[in-house]
């Protein structure tokens, strides 16, 4: 039972354009969401997060949007750079019990020069 889904296994965008990665979740109890970035042969690294009390969180070129009614979040990267090419994982958890973080299957982003 995958509670967090990333339905696009891959995404290819041109350098300088916007990348939009999507994530859906089924468990309405989740109240904290994170995006991790993973390069080959490395572990995932934290990128950005958002609490359910917000609908947007921005950090430089990265913005995460949360639509609680639709149980949907998205990561926007503007402008996209070749160094952004990686696998992006969406994750969801509970703020006061983050022992069971659920991850999506990941989306492989390729940014072409």
């Amino acid at each position: 039972d995958q509670q967090v889904k990333q339905n696009s296994p891959s995404l290819s965008v041109q350098e300088g354009r916007i990348s939009i990665l999507n994530c859906d979740y089924t468990n309405s109890m989740f109240d904290y969401f994170l995006w991790y970035k993973k390069y080959p042969a490395e572990g995932p690294t934290f990128l950005i997060s958002i609490s359910s009390i917000k609908d947007k969180n921005e950090d430089g070129r990265f913005t995460v949007f949360l639509n609680k009614s639709a149980k949907h979040l998205s990561l926007h990267i503007v402008p996209s750079q070749p160094g952004d090419s990686a696998v992006y994982f969406c994750a969801a958890t509970l703020t006061y019990n983050n022992n069971d973080m659920r991850f999506g299957a990941g989306t492989r982003l390729t940014v072409k020069p």
Partner: protein, 116 residues
């Protein structure tokens, strides 16, 4: 400051063999986790620990055991390896749970395990 390290990086086992994966962190984190990553599945939690001497089951604990004898180390054991345990294993640690800004987990580089 090495962060989270995992030993070994690669391993090939035969069915029925046993092995232990070692995870070490130097960030004085209370919480530690073991995940497995399979194609198309994302990361799934095997076991976790909320402090030295404690362990708990995650989403997919069957076939694995863990121990947290020291705060900085978290061991994952496979007593009798099966081909279904072929996967990439990631260890992670975090400061704690319950405070929004501290939910970030720091991951090791992974161990690629193949069971023949």
């Amino acid at each position: 400051n090495a962060g989270v390290t995992q030993t070994p990086k690669f391993r090939v086992l035969k069915t029925g063999q046993s092995m232990t994966l070692l995870c070490a962190q130097d960030m004085n984190h209370e919480y530690m986790y073991w995940y497995r990553q399979d194609p198309g599945m994302g990361l799934r939690l095997i076991h976790y620990s909320v402090g030295e001497g404690t362990t708990a089951k995650g989403e997919v604990p069957d076939g694995y055991n863990v121990s947290r004898l020291k705060k900085q180390n978290f061991l994952l054991g496979l007593e009798s390896a099966a081909p279904s345990q072929t996967s990439v294993y990631f260890c992670a640690s975090s400061y704690g749970g319950g405070v929004e800004v501290l939910n970030e987990q720091f991951f090791g580089p992974g161990t690629r395990l193949t069971v023949l």
